[in-house]
Amino acid sequence: MRTRTVKSHISALLSKNKREDNRKFDEFRNISIDVNPIPRAHGSCKVKLGETEVIVGVKLDVGEPFPDTPNEGVLIVNAELGPLASPEFESGPPRENAIELARVIDRGIRESKCIDFEKLCIKEKEKVWMLFIDVYPINDSGNLLDASALAAIIALKNALLPKYDKKEEKVLYKEFTKKKLPLTKTPIQCTYAKINGSIILDPSKREEDSLDSRLSISILESGNICAMQKGEVGTFTDKEILDLVEKAIKKSKDLRKLVK
Protein backbone atom coordinates (compact mmCIF):
# COMPACT_ATOMS: atom_id res chain seq x y z
CA MET A 1 0.00 0.00 0.00
CA ARG A 2 1.37 3.42 -0.93
CA THR A 3 1.23 5.91 1.90
CA ARG A 4 2.89 9.28 2.25
CA THR A 5 4.01 8.63 5.83
CA VAL A 6 5.91 5.47 4.87
CA LYS A 7 7.51 7.27 1.95
CA SER A 8 8.65 10.26 4.03
CA HIS A 9 10.10 7.91 6.65
CA ILE A 10 11.95 5.81 4.07
CA SER A 11 13.32 8.82 2.22
CA ALA A 12 14.40 10.53 5.43
CA LEU A 13 16.39 7.39 6.30
CA LEU A 14 17.89 7.19 2.81
CA SER A 15 19.01 10.84 2.98
CA LYS A 16 21.04 9.78 6.05
CA ASN A 17 22.47 6.87 4.06
CA LYS A 18 20.40 4.32 5.98
CA ARG A 19 17.81 1.68 5.17
CA GLU A 20 15.14 0.24 7.44
CA ASP A 21 16.82 -3.16 7.56
CA ASN A 22 20.33 -1.67 7.88
CA ARG A 23 21.39 -2.88 4.46
CA LYS A 24 23.90 -1.05 2.28
CA PHE A 25 22.42 0.65 -0.79
CA ASP A 26 23.83 -2.00 -3.11
CA GLU A 27 23.14 -5.07 -1.00
CA PHE A 28 20.70 -7.91 -1.62
CA ARG A 29 18.77 -9.42 1.27
CA ASN A 30 19.70 -12.98 2.30
CA ILE A 31 19.02 -15.45 -0.47
CA SER A 32 18.16 -19.10 0.04
CA ILE A 33 17.50 -21.49 -2.80
CA ASP A 34 15.63 -24.77 -2.89
CA VAL A 35 16.12 -26.71 -6.14
CA ASN A 36 13.33 -28.94 -7.49
CA PRO A 37 10.96 -28.75 -4.49
CA ILE A 38 8.01 -29.76 -6.72
CA PRO A 39 8.41 -33.39 -7.83
CA ARG A 40 5.64 -33.11 -10.43
CA ALA A 41 7.21 -30.14 -12.22
CA HIS A 42 9.83 -30.96 -14.85
CA GLY A 43 11.99 -28.36 -13.16
CA SER A 44 11.31 -26.07 -10.22
CA CYS A 45 12.97 -23.71 -7.80
CA LYS A 46 11.96 -21.89 -4.65
CA VAL A 47 13.83 -18.69 -3.92
CA LYS A 48 13.66 -16.79 -0.65
CA LEU A 49 14.92 -13.23 -0.88
CA GLY A 50 14.61 -11.92 2.67
CA GLU A 51 10.96 -12.62 3.39
CA THR A 52 9.95 -12.58 -0.26
CA GLU A 53 9.30 -16.11 -1.42
CA VAL A 54 8.51 -17.39 -4.87
CA ILE A 55 8.14 -20.79 -6.55
CA VAL A 56 8.84 -21.11 -10.27
CA GLY A 57 7.94 -24.30 -12.10
CA VAL A 58 8.87 -25.48 -15.59
CA LYS A 59 6.51 -27.75 -17.50
CA LEU A 60 7.17 -29.28 -20.90
CA ASP A 61 4.71 -30.28 -23.53
CA VAL A 62 4.77 -30.95 -27.26
CA GLY A 63 2.90 -28.72 -29.66
CA GLU A 64 2.94 -26.96 -32.98
CA PRO A 65 5.60 -24.31 -33.64
CA PHE A 66 4.75 -20.75 -34.65
CA PRO A 67 4.62 -20.40 -38.47
CA ASP A 68 7.45 -17.81 -38.50
CA THR A 69 9.79 -20.09 -36.50
CA PRO A 70 8.92 -23.59 -37.81
CA ASN A 71 12.04 -25.25 -36.38
CA GLU A 72 12.14 -23.64 -32.95
CA GLY A 73 10.64 -24.56 -29.57
CA VAL A 74 8.14 -22.27 -27.88
CA LEU A 75 8.59 -20.39 -24.59
CA ILE A 76 5.61 -19.20 -22.56
CA VAL A 77 6.06 -17.33 -19.28
CA ASN A 78 3.16 -16.69 -16.96
CA ALA A 79 2.90 -15.17 -13.48
CA GLU A 80 0.02 -15.71 -11.07
CA LEU A 81 -0.10 -13.03 -8.39
CA GLY A 82 -2.63 -14.88 -6.28
CA PRO A 83 -4.15 -13.71 -2.98
CA LEU A 84 -2.02 -16.24 -1.10
CA ALA A 85 1.05 -14.04 -1.37
CA SER A 86 -0.21 -10.59 -0.45
CA PRO A 87 -3.29 -8.79 0.87
CA GLU A 88 -2.97 -6.58 -2.21
CA PHE A 89 -3.41 -9.41 -4.72
CA GLU A 90 -6.84 -10.59 -5.76
CA SER A 91 -8.13 -13.69 -7.53
CA GLY A 92 -9.04 -13.37 -11.16
CA PRO A 93 -7.32 -13.01 -14.51
CA PRO A 94 -3.76 -11.57 -14.41
CA ARG A 95 -3.68 -7.79 -14.03
CA GLU A 96 -1.06 -5.27 -15.22
CA ASN A 97 1.45 -6.14 -12.50
CA ALA A 98 1.34 -9.89 -13.12
CA ILE A 99 1.67 -9.38 -16.86
CA GLU A 100 4.57 -6.95 -16.50
CA LEU A 101 6.32 -9.40 -14.15
CA ALA A 102 5.82 -12.31 -16.57
CA ARG A 103 6.99 -10.28 -19.55
CA VAL A 104 10.10 -8.97 -17.80
CA ILE A 105 11.07 -12.55 -16.82
CA ASP A 106 10.24 -13.69 -20.36
CA ARG A 107 12.48 -11.09 -21.97
CA GLY A 108 15.34 -11.73 -19.56
CA ILE A 109 15.38 -15.36 -20.69
CA ARG A 110 14.36 -15.05 -24.35
CA GLU A 111 16.59 -12.13 -25.29
CA SER A 112 19.63 -13.57 -23.56
CA LYS A 113 19.37 -16.37 -26.16
CA CYS A 114 20.25 -18.69 -23.32
CA ILE A 115 17.95 -21.39 -24.72
CA ASP A 116 18.91 -23.03 -28.00
CA PHE A 117 15.37 -23.19 -29.36
CA GLU A 118 16.38 -25.09 -32.51
CA LYS A 119 17.38 -28.04 -30.35
CA LEU A 120 13.81 -28.13 -29.04
CA CYS A 121 12.47 -28.99 -32.48
CA ILE A 122 11.15 -32.54 -32.88
CA LYS A 123 9.76 -32.33 -36.44
CA GLU A 124 9.94 -29.13 -38.45
CA LYS A 125 6.63 -27.28 -38.89
CA GLU A 126 4.83 -29.95 -36.87
CA LYS A 127 6.18 -30.84 -33.45
CA VAL A 128 8.34 -28.84 -31.09
CA TRP A 129 8.84 -28.74 -27.31
CA MET A 130 6.77 -26.08 -25.60
CA LEU A 131 8.38 -24.65 -22.50
CA PHE A 132 6.03 -23.25 -19.86
CA ILE A 133 7.49 -21.21 -17.03
CA ASP A 134 4.98 -20.40 -14.30
CA VAL A 135 5.80 -17.94 -11.53
CA TYR A 136 3.88 -18.28 -8.25
CA PRO A 137 4.76 -15.86 -5.43
CA ILE A 138 4.21 -17.31 -1.94
CA ASN A 139 4.91 -14.13 -0.01
CA ASP A 140 5.49 -10.65 -1.39
CA SER A 141 7.92 -8.63 0.71
CA GLY A 142 9.23 -6.64 -2.22
CA ASN A 143 11.27 -7.27 -5.37
CA LEU A 144 9.38 -10.22 -6.76
CA LEU A 145 11.11 -9.34 -10.03
CA ASP A 146 14.59 -10.48 -9.01
CA ALA A 147 13.41 -13.39 -6.87
CA SER A 148 11.36 -14.71 -9.80
CA ALA A 149 14.10 -14.17 -12.39
CA LEU A 150 16.60 -16.05 -10.25
CA ALA A 151 14.15 -18.88 -9.54
CA ALA A 152 13.28 -19.11 -13.24
CA ILE A 153 16.85 -19.53 -14.47
CA ILE A 154 17.62 -22.10 -11.75
CA ALA A 155 14.42 -24.03 -12.52
CA LEU A 156 15.39 -24.07 -16.22
CA LYS A 157 18.91 -25.28 -15.44
CA ASN A 158 17.55 -28.14 -13.36
CA ALA A 159 14.67 -29.19 -15.59
CA LEU A 160 14.62 -32.63 -17.19
CA LEU A 161 12.71 -33.41 -20.38
CA PRO A 162 9.87 -35.91 -20.00
CA LYS A 163 9.79 -38.96 -22.26
CA TYR A 164 8.26 -38.48 -25.70
CA ASP A 165 6.76 -41.46 -27.50
CA LYS A 166 7.43 -40.67 -31.17
CA LYS A 167 5.24 -43.48 -32.52
CA GLU A 168 2.18 -42.57 -30.51
CA GLU A 169 3.09 -38.85 -30.62
CA LYS A 170 2.44 -38.63 -26.89
CA VAL A 171 4.32 -37.05 -24.02
CA LEU A 172 4.75 -39.33 -20.99
CA TYR A 173 4.64 -36.51 -18.44
CA LYS A 174 5.49 -38.66 -15.44
CA GLU A 175 8.55 -40.27 -16.97
CA PHE A 176 11.61 -38.07 -16.77
CA THR A 177 14.57 -38.61 -19.08
CA LYS A 178 18.07 -37.57 -18.07
CA LYS A 179 18.11 -34.92 -20.78
CA LYS A 180 18.47 -31.31 -19.66
CA LEU A 181 17.33 -28.25 -21.56
CA PRO A 182 19.79 -26.83 -24.11
CA LEU A 183 20.99 -23.83 -22.08
CA THR A 184 24.06 -21.90 -23.06
CA LYS A 185 24.07 -18.78 -20.89
CA THR A 186 22.93 -17.50 -17.51
CA PRO A 187 21.20 -14.12 -17.47
CA ILE A 188 21.11 -12.48 -14.02
CA GLN A 189 18.74 -9.67 -13.16
CA CYS A 190 19.28 -6.81 -10.69
CA THR A 191 16.49 -4.37 -9.85
CA TYR A 192 17.12 -0.88 -8.49
CA ALA A 193 14.63 1.54 -6.97
CA LYS A 194 14.90 5.33 -6.97
CA ILE A 195 13.32 7.05 -3.98
CA ASN A 196 13.60 10.81 -3.67
CA GLY A 197 16.87 10.80 -5.59
CA SER A 198 18.51 7.91 -3.71
CA ILE A 199 19.04 4.67 -5.61
CA ILE A 200 18.98 1.30 -3.87
CA LEU A 201 19.30 -2.34 -4.92
CA ASP A 202 16.62 -4.98 -4.10
CA PRO A 203 13.85 -2.81 -2.62
CA SER A 204 11.89 -4.26 0.32
CA LYS A 205 8.09 -4.06 0.28
CA ARG A 206 8.00 -0.71 2.06
CA GLU A 207 10.76 0.65 -0.16
CA GLU A 208 8.92 -0.61 -3.21
CA ASP A 209 5.76 1.13 -2.02
CA SER A 210 7.75 4.38 -1.75
CA LEU A 211 9.70 4.28 -4.99
CA ASP A 212 9.42 6.85 -7.77
CA SER A 213 10.97 4.65 -10.45
CA ARG A 214 12.68 1.33 -10.79
CA LEU A 215 15.10 -0.21 -13.23
CA SER A 216 15.66 -3.91 -13.86
CA ILE A 217 18.80 -4.92 -15.72
CA SER A 218 19.67 -8.42 -16.96
CA ILE A 219 23.35 -9.16 -17.40
CA LEU A 220 25.12 -12.04 -19.14
CA GLU A 221 28.43 -13.74 -18.27
CA SER A 222 30.12 -11.59 -20.93
CA GLY A 223 29.10 -8.46 -19.04
CA ASN A 224 26.71 -7.49 -21.81
CA ILE A 225 23.16 -6.40 -21.10
CA CYS A 226 20.36 -8.59 -22.48
CA ALA A 227 17.19 -6.94 -21.16
CA MET A 228 16.08 -3.84 -19.26
CA GLN A 229 12.84 -2.50 -17.90
CA LYS A 230 12.18 0.89 -16.40
CA GLY A 231 9.04 0.90 -14.29
CA GLU A 232 6.72 3.29 -12.45
CA VAL A 233 6.12 7.00 -12.96
CA GLY A 234 9.44 8.58 -11.94
CA THR A 235 12.46 9.21 -14.15
CA PHE A 236 16.18 8.42 -14.47
CA THR A 237 18.97 10.46 -16.05
CA ASP A 238 21.27 8.80 -18.59
CA LYS A 239 24.16 9.12 -16.14
CA GLU A 240 22.17 7.26 -13.49
CA ILE A 241 21.30 4.48 -15.90
CA LEU A 242 24.88 3.96 -17.05
CA ASP A 243 26.04 4.01 -13.46
CA LEU A 244 23.45 1.34 -12.56
CA VAL A 245 24.48 -0.83 -15.49
CA GLU A 246 28.05 -0.68 -14.20
CA LYS A 247 26.85 -1.68 -10.72
CA ALA A 248 24.63 -4.46 -12.04
CA ILE A 249 27.55 -5.95 -14.00
CA LYS A 250 29.54 -6.19 -10.76
CA LYS A 251 26.62 -7.38 -8.63
CA SER A 252 25.49 -10.05 -11.07
CA LYS A 253 28.83 -11.85 -10.61
CA ASP A 254 27.95 -12.61 -6.96
CA LEU A 255 24.46 -13.76 -7.83
CA ARG A 256 25.65 -15.95 -10.68
CA LYS A 257 27.65 -18.05 -8.21
CA LEU A 258 24.32 -19.15 -6.69
CA VAL A 259 23.05 -20.56 -9.99
CA LYS A 260 23.80 -24.26 -10.27
Binding site: R40, A41, E51, E53, K59, P83, D134, S141
Partner: protein, 244 residues
Amino acid sequence: MKAGAPDKFIVKGKRLDGRKIDELRPIKIKAGVIKSADGSAYLEMGETTVLVAVRGPREVIPRHLAMPDKAYLNCVYDMMSFATPERNRPGPSRRSTEISKVMKDALSPAIFLEKYPKTKIDIYAEITNANAGTRCAAITAASVALADAGIEMKDIVASIGVGKAGGKLMLDLFEPEDNFGEADVPIAIMPRTEEITLLQMDGDLSKDELKKLIAIGKKACKEIYKKQKQALKKKFETEKEAKK
Protein backbone atom coordinates in the same frame (compact mmCIF):
# COMPACT_ATOMS: atom_id res chain seq x y z
CA MET B 1 -9.42 -52.00 -17.45
CA LYS B 2 -8.33 -48.44 -18.11
CA ALA B 3 -5.00 -47.77 -19.78
CA GLY B 4 -2.14 -47.35 -17.33
CA ALA B 5 -3.91 -49.21 -14.53
CA PRO B 6 -1.69 -51.40 -12.35
CA ASP B 7 -2.31 -55.19 -12.49
CA LYS B 8 -2.54 -55.42 -8.72
CA PHE B 9 -2.99 -52.91 -5.92
CA ILE B 10 -1.54 -55.20 -3.26
CA VAL B 11 1.75 -57.02 -3.74
CA LYS B 12 2.96 -59.33 -0.96
CA GLY B 13 0.54 -57.79 1.51
CA LYS B 14 1.72 -54.27 0.79
CA ARG B 15 0.42 -51.42 -1.34
CA LEU B 16 2.27 -50.17 -4.39
CA ASP B 17 4.10 -47.56 -2.32
CA GLY B 18 4.96 -50.08 0.38
CA ARG B 19 2.27 -49.04 2.88
CA LYS B 20 -0.11 -51.27 4.79
CA ILE B 21 -3.78 -50.86 3.86
CA ASP B 22 -4.52 -48.83 7.00
CA GLU B 23 -1.37 -46.73 6.92
CA LEU B 24 -1.19 -42.99 6.29
CA ARG B 25 1.45 -41.42 4.12
CA PRO B 26 4.06 -39.47 6.14
CA ILE B 27 2.51 -36.17 7.27
CA LYS B 28 4.35 -32.95 7.95
CA ILE B 29 2.52 -29.80 9.06
CA LYS B 30 4.01 -26.38 9.71
CA ALA B 31 2.06 -23.36 10.92
CA GLY B 32 2.94 -19.72 10.23
CA VAL B 33 4.78 -20.09 6.93
CA ILE B 34 3.53 -16.98 5.08
CA LYS B 35 4.58 -13.75 6.74
CA SER B 36 2.09 -11.44 5.07
CA ALA B 37 -0.93 -13.58 6.03
CA ASP B 38 -2.84 -13.46 9.33
CA GLY B 39 -2.58 -17.23 9.58
CA SER B 40 -0.96 -19.84 7.37
CA ALA B 41 0.09 -23.45 7.13
CA TYR B 42 2.09 -25.84 4.97
CA LEU B 43 1.11 -29.49 4.80
CA GLU B 44 2.79 -32.50 3.23
CA MET B 45 1.03 -35.85 2.87
CA GLY B 46 3.42 -38.00 0.96
CA GLU B 47 3.84 -36.25 -2.38
CA THR B 48 0.74 -34.10 -1.97
CA THR B 49 1.73 -30.65 -0.72
CA VAL B 50 -0.37 -27.57 -0.01
CA LEU B 51 0.06 -24.02 1.25
CA VAL B 52 -2.81 -22.17 2.91
CA ALA B 53 -3.09 -18.50 3.82
CA VAL B 54 -5.89 -17.01 5.94
CA ARG B 55 -6.63 -13.29 5.82
CA GLY B 56 -9.17 -11.71 8.09
CA PRO B 57 -11.51 -11.13 9.74
CA ARG B 58 -11.42 -8.02 7.58
CA GLU B 59 -13.56 -5.56 5.67
CA VAL B 60 -16.00 -7.18 3.24
CA ILE B 61 -15.54 -6.29 -0.40
CA PRO B 62 -17.98 -6.12 -2.20
CA ARG B 63 -19.97 -4.73 0.69
CA HIS B 64 -23.28 -6.38 -0.17
CA LEU B 65 -21.79 -9.74 0.89
CA ALA B 66 -21.52 -8.53 4.50
CA MET B 67 -23.90 -10.23 6.92
CA PRO B 68 -25.23 -8.51 10.04
CA ASP B 69 -25.07 -11.63 12.22
CA LYS B 70 -21.93 -13.48 11.15
CA ALA B 71 -18.73 -13.43 9.12
CA TYR B 72 -18.70 -14.19 5.41
CA LEU B 73 -16.36 -17.12 4.79
CA ASN B 74 -14.60 -17.10 1.44
CA CYS B 75 -12.64 -20.13 0.38
CA VAL B 76 -10.47 -20.47 -2.71
CA TYR B 77 -8.88 -23.75 -3.76
CA ASP B 78 -6.31 -23.48 -6.51
CA MET B 79 -3.65 -25.68 -8.02
CA MET B 80 -0.30 -24.50 -9.28
CA SER B 81 -0.02 -25.13 -13.01
CA PHE B 82 2.95 -27.47 -12.55
CA ALA B 83 1.42 -29.46 -9.67
CA THR B 84 0.00 -32.12 -11.99
CA PRO B 85 1.76 -34.40 -14.53
CA GLU B 86 0.38 -32.42 -17.49
CA ARG B 87 0.38 -28.65 -17.10
CA ASN B 88 -3.03 -27.48 -15.98
CA ARG B 89 -4.11 -24.04 -17.08
CA PRO B 90 -3.88 -21.46 -14.30
CA GLY B 91 -7.09 -19.92 -13.03
CA PRO B 92 -10.36 -21.33 -11.77
CA SER B 93 -12.04 -24.39 -13.29
CA ARG B 94 -15.35 -26.11 -12.57
CA ARG B 95 -13.45 -28.64 -10.45
CA SER B 96 -11.64 -26.03 -8.35
CA THR B 97 -14.84 -24.01 -7.87
CA GLU B 98 -16.66 -27.05 -6.51
CA ILE B 99 -13.80 -27.97 -4.21
CA SER B 100 -13.68 -24.38 -2.94
CA LYS B 101 -17.32 -24.76 -1.99
CA VAL B 102 -17.04 -28.15 -0.28
CA MET B 103 -13.99 -26.86 1.61
CA LYS B 104 -16.01 -23.90 2.82
CA ASP B 105 -18.85 -26.19 3.84
CA ALA B 106 -16.44 -28.53 5.64
CA LEU B 107 -14.77 -25.74 7.62
CA SER B 108 -17.75 -23.49 8.41
CA PRO B 109 -19.28 -25.69 11.14
CA ALA B 110 -16.05 -25.46 13.16
CA ILE B 111 -15.74 -21.66 13.11
CA PHE B 112 -17.61 -19.29 15.45
CA LEU B 113 -18.61 -17.14 12.48
CA GLU B 114 -21.18 -15.36 14.66
CA LYS B 115 -18.31 -13.84 16.63
CA TYR B 116 -17.24 -11.80 13.62
CA PRO B 117 -20.34 -10.13 12.17
CA LYS B 118 -19.99 -7.81 9.15
CA THR B 119 -16.51 -9.14 8.32
CA LYS B 120 -14.97 -11.50 5.82
CA ILE B 121 -12.56 -14.34 6.43
CA ASP B 122 -10.58 -15.46 3.39
CA ILE B 123 -8.97 -18.86 3.03
CA TYR B 124 -6.60 -19.36 0.11
CA ALA B 125 -5.38 -22.90 -0.50
CA GLU B 126 -2.75 -23.52 -3.14
CA ILE B 127 -1.85 -27.09 -4.10
CA THR B 128 1.87 -27.06 -4.85
CA ASN B 129 2.16 -30.73 -5.80
CA ALA B 130 -0.77 -33.04 -6.44
CA ASN B 131 -0.73 -36.78 -5.77
CA ALA B 132 -4.34 -37.57 -4.72
CA GLY B 133 -6.13 -36.35 -1.62
CA THR B 134 -5.59 -32.67 -2.38
CA ARG B 135 -8.95 -31.46 -1.05
CA CYS B 136 -8.43 -33.34 2.21
CA ALA B 137 -4.91 -31.93 2.53
CA ALA B 138 -6.26 -28.44 1.86
CA ILE B 139 -8.99 -28.74 4.54
CA THR B 140 -6.56 -30.15 7.13
CA ALA B 141 -4.07 -27.35 6.43
CA ALA B 142 -6.78 -24.67 6.32
CA SER B 143 -7.96 -25.52 9.86
CA VAL B 144 -4.41 -25.11 11.11
CA ALA B 145 -4.12 -21.78 9.29
CA LEU B 146 -7.44 -20.59 10.76
CA ALA B 147 -6.28 -21.47 14.27
CA ASP B 148 -2.95 -19.80 13.53
CA ALA B 149 -4.86 -16.64 12.59
CA GLY B 150 -6.42 -16.69 16.07
CA ILE B 151 -9.93 -17.20 14.76
CA GLU B 152 -12.19 -18.71 17.40
CA MET B 153 -13.18 -22.26 16.59
CA LYS B 154 -15.15 -25.10 18.11
CA ASP B 155 -12.64 -27.62 16.85
CA ILE B 156 -9.92 -28.19 14.28
CA VAL B 157 -11.28 -30.01 11.25
CA ALA B 158 -9.21 -32.98 10.11
CA SER B 159 -9.69 -34.64 6.75
CA ILE B 160 -8.55 -37.75 4.89
CA GLY B 161 -9.35 -39.74 1.78
CA VAL B 162 -10.40 -43.37 2.17
CA GLY B 163 -11.51 -45.78 -0.52
CA LYS B 164 -11.35 -49.14 -2.17
CA ALA B 165 -8.84 -50.50 -4.64
CA GLY B 166 -8.25 -54.06 -5.77
CA GLY B 167 -11.18 -55.15 -3.61
CA LYS B 168 -9.55 -53.89 -0.40
CA LEU B 169 -10.66 -50.99 1.76
CA MET B 170 -7.79 -48.55 2.11
CA LEU B 171 -6.72 -45.47 3.97
CA ASP B 172 -5.23 -42.36 2.33
CA LEU B 173 -5.28 -43.30 -1.34
CA PHE B 174 -2.40 -42.18 -3.52
CA GLU B 175 -2.56 -41.59 -7.26
CA PRO B 176 -2.86 -45.09 -8.84
CA GLU B 177 -5.39 -46.16 -6.19
CA ASP B 178 -7.32 -42.94 -6.62
CA ASN B 179 -7.33 -43.09 -10.44
CA PHE B 180 -7.92 -46.80 -10.97
CA GLY B 181 -9.49 -48.00 -7.72
CA GLU B 182 -13.15 -48.85 -7.25
CA ALA B 183 -14.18 -46.08 -4.90
CA ASP B 184 -12.91 -42.96 -3.24
CA VAL B 185 -14.40 -41.24 -0.21
CA PRO B 186 -12.98 -37.95 1.05
CA ILE B 187 -14.14 -37.35 4.59
CA ALA B 188 -13.63 -34.61 7.20
CA ILE B 189 -14.62 -34.60 10.84
CA MET B 190 -14.50 -32.42 13.91
CA PRO B 191 -12.57 -34.96 15.99
CA ARG B 192 -13.88 -33.83 19.40
CA THR B 193 -17.53 -34.61 18.59
CA GLU B 194 -16.88 -36.89 15.60
CA GLU B 195 -19.37 -34.89 13.54
CA ILE B 196 -18.80 -35.31 9.81
CA THR B 197 -18.36 -32.02 7.91
CA LEU B 198 -17.28 -33.35 4.51
CA LEU B 199 -18.36 -36.48 2.75
CA GLN B 200 -18.10 -37.15 -0.93
CA MET B 201 -18.06 -40.47 -2.65
CA ASP B 202 -17.66 -41.84 -6.10
CA GLY B 203 -17.37 -45.42 -7.26
CA ASP B 204 -18.99 -48.62 -6.11
CA LEU B 205 -19.42 -49.56 -2.42
CA SER B 206 -21.79 -51.65 -0.33
CA LYS B 207 -23.47 -50.16 2.73
CA ASP B 208 -21.29 -52.31 4.95
CA GLU B 209 -18.11 -51.16 3.19
CA LEU B 210 -19.09 -47.53 3.60
CA LYS B 211 -19.65 -48.09 7.31
CA LYS B 212 -16.18 -49.60 7.62
CA LEU B 213 -14.58 -46.84 5.57
CA ILE B 214 -16.11 -44.11 7.72
CA ALA B 215 -14.70 -45.84 10.81
CA ILE B 216 -11.25 -46.10 9.20
CA GLY B 217 -11.45 -42.43 8.17
CA LYS B 218 -12.48 -41.25 11.61
CA LYS B 219 -9.62 -43.10 13.27
CA ALA B 220 -7.12 -41.58 10.83
CA CYS B 221 -8.55 -38.08 11.29
CA LYS B 222 -7.87 -38.35 15.02
CA GLU B 223 -4.27 -39.22 14.27
CA ILE B 224 -4.03 -36.20 11.95
CA TYR B 225 -5.67 -34.05 14.63
CA LYS B 226 -2.71 -34.75 16.94
CA LYS B 227 -0.29 -33.55 14.26
CA GLN B 228 -2.36 -30.41 13.68
CA LYS B 229 -2.21 -29.52 17.36
CA GLN B 230 1.49 -30.31 17.52
CA ALA B 231 2.17 -27.96 14.60
CA LEU B 232 0.26 -25.12 16.26
CA LYS B 233 1.96 -25.67 19.62
CA LYS B 234 5.34 -25.73 17.95
CA LYS B 235 4.73 -22.45 16.19
CA PHE B 236 3.67 -20.59 19.31
CA GLU B 237 6.42 -22.16 21.41
CA THR B 238 9.10 -21.05 18.96
CA GLU B 239 7.52 -17.61 18.90
CA LYS B 240 7.69 -17.45 22.69
CA GLU B 241 11.31 -18.60 22.64
CA ALA B 242 12.17 -15.89 20.13
CA LYS B 243 10.60 -13.21 22.31
CA LYS B 244 12.67 -14.18 25.36
